[in-house]
Symmetry: C2
């Protein structure tokens, strides 16, 4: 996010405005954009001009950074509840979308993200993405095929400069606030994209707040399109992201397994559903556990009480994920591994815990058996180097 402020907002042709609700909007254009949408503000200002008039550019840039992350000095006061957190979350996406959806920025943004994960020793990623349309300076708009191809180009480019990097796959995701018809359309899009880019598109997910959004059950006709037509479309459903037993969010967890999910995002409610728990264990369906995300979203404060602690204690399938690290003010995945190791894993967590979690990441990834074997081989080399370093380092 710092890169967005320091690099992207300093690029030429960057216009901004502030909506009536006080949300920053950005747009790259040859000249000031004309009334783009009714909900957006009307007076676009060239950021370059604005900065020239400012006395304290450092403070202005800080304010931009504040608008781009949830980081604040008084989180308890600023975000008293989940509503305020979710609102800020959405506002961040609204603010940055005009920046990152500009075609040249878009590719640089992905590249930048890969750099951060690579610096964190992450060599393969599975990324949830909406595949929003990307625009050029002249207003031209690119479709989802173009966007996936852009991802692929960046991955290839990144591999050239970082030969150890193994690439990424995309989980095409859509909002659970949309109508059944729109989601059915997205499911068909996911199937088509997977046909065109079998190496890149891993599957489909529905994201967004579960209790105010529609349930998986609501979308059953859409989500059963693949099985109806005998097409493969792996599901990576966000489900059960709640600490409160007995809501509609719990039912998503049940429907996620009924709909044959390959992995479950969060699954925070799982310990309250022994049948789903036993089923996912037997079928080896892992949870994607996101410690920092759960903390930021106020689902749990002390990681020792994270439901995954009870699950990890007996080896329930799970992987560690960082959800949306940039928004939370975090980078990469290590911080989440740290919390999982220090809190969720208990007092006697040790190298075996880390080893298990990393090998789980490989085991439960969406790639082919051949590719997993390769990942394991590469990882083993790195792990042995790490152990060697631990054993020999001066104390």
């Amino acid at each position: 996010m710092e890169w967005l402020v320091k690099n992207v907002t300093y690029r030429p042709h960057c216009y901004f405005c502030i909506t009536p609700e006080g949300i920053l909007q950005f747009r790259f254009a040859q000249s000031a954009p004309q009334n783009l949408k009714a909900r957006e503000c009307s007076n676009w200002v060239l950021l370059e001009d604005h900065r020239k008039k400012l006395k304290d550019i450092v403070e202005f840039d800080k304010s931009l950074l504040r608008a781009f992350t949830m980081v604040t000095k008084n989180p308890e006061k600023i975000y008293p509840n989940e509503d305020s957190l979710r609102t800020k979350f959405q506002n961040i996406f609204l603010s940055i979308s005009g920046l990152v959806r500009h075609a040249p920025v878009f590719k640089d943004y992905i590249f930048q993200g890969l750099k951060e994960f690579h610096a964190d020793n992450v060599f393969f990623l599975e990324i949830r993405t909406m595949l929003w349309p990307v625009y050029e300076l002249n207003g031209e708009i690119h479709d989802q095929l173009w966007v996936v191809r852009a991802y692929q180009e960046v991955a290839d480019e990144f591999k050239r400069t970082h030969p150890e990097f193994m690439g990424f796959r995309l989980i095409f995701s859509d909002y659970r606030t949309k109508s059944l018809a729109l989601i059915a359309h997205s499911v068909r899009t996911a199937i088509r994209l997977r046909e065109v880019f079998p190496d890149i598109i891993a599957g489909f997910d529905l994201v967004g707040r579960e209790d105010t959004g529609y349930s998986l059950y609501h979308y059953k006709e859409a989500l059963m399109i693949p099985v109806t037509y005998g097409v493969q479309l792996p599901y990576f459903f966000h489900a059960g992201e709640t600490d409160w037993y007995g809501t509609s969010i719990d039912r998503n967890l049940i429907d996620a397994v009924i709909l044959n999910a390959t992995r479950i995002g969060h699954g925070f409610a799982l310990t309250k559903h022994p049948v789903v728990k036993a089923y996912t264990q037997n079928k080896d369906i892992p949870l994607e556990v996101c410690p920092i995300s759960n903390q930021v979203m106020k689902l749990v404060s002390d990681m020792r009480n994270h439901p995954a602690a009870a699950l990890m204690a007996y080896g329930h399938p799970m992987v560690i994920s960082s959800d949306d690290p940039a928004v939370f003010g975090a980078k990469g995945l290590s911080y989440d591994f740290y919390e999982a190791f220090m809190g969720i894993g208990g007092k006697r967590a040790d190298l075996r815990t880390l080893k298990k979690l990393v090998t789980n990441s490989i085991k439960y990834s969406s790639v082919s058996k051949t590719q997993k074997d390769l990942f394991m081989k590469v990882w083993k080399l790195k792990w042995n180097q790490f152990i060697d370093y631990l054993a020999r380092r001066p104390r």
Copy 2:
């Protein structure tokens, strides 16, 4: 505790002093007690004289109340961690013990406690007690037999004025800081007391902080005395009172069931031990869940993350207990039921939840089948009245 300040400390012959560590000590005596113990302070002051010299008695009484409970305006600051909580907890017991162990106060104190629980619609109790020696004004000291008899007398007296009250039983408890020999002695005492007072003495427990105290395993020779001699001594062990997986506290949970515990105090760690969980479920060994105690002791903040929420979701045997309500600034049991109902039970908790929890209290009490049947009969009448009231009350 308010009663202790407003009533007991106003009684004649009440001396007090302050230890070098700043802990208040009390003692009823004909004249100022002479150096009682080295650890205690030397200058005893008659409270009556002290109050006469005071300008602000109201403030002084408030300070006494503060010394008798953990209630404070800034709990986060005053009690940053478990150590500070446990210290305060012990200091409270040190402070009030000189008051409540005075024979006439002792009986009134029990009576007062029964009144508070009775006002809270609690009609039968099982009370953990150390059976500390009780003293008379002239210095005479009563032994444990006298103390149990005093409990019994108070119960009989209370029943005369509160005919619905069903009485209580005692769980003789000792500290897990003591030597094996002392605990072996206490186990034998418990056996003897149970022979003399079969209706009153329910069994035995070890209390106190589990990680700094000895483990159940440490006391195995003492705790196996009953089984060795073929004597019945039901165990109601405090075990697994931790949110941190992998400590010695976890092992207490395992040893509690190996030692054939009748109920388990707290068992907060149970969800991290699937074998013990399945075993206690099959053997119908309930947990005593203490929501407020766990909150005060910083084991969990949001009740929706209390491990009992996962257990209650599928009907694991449990009862609700208030641990040490007076010390926490609470009264009776309703507040704990409230937390269990609002948080642990989930969003769809309803009358059935309350009904189940109350009937569990009867089902898992230590009394005979005949007595349980009677309890159920009486409770059903009261429950029906309650439902009737709910149905007919104006809205």
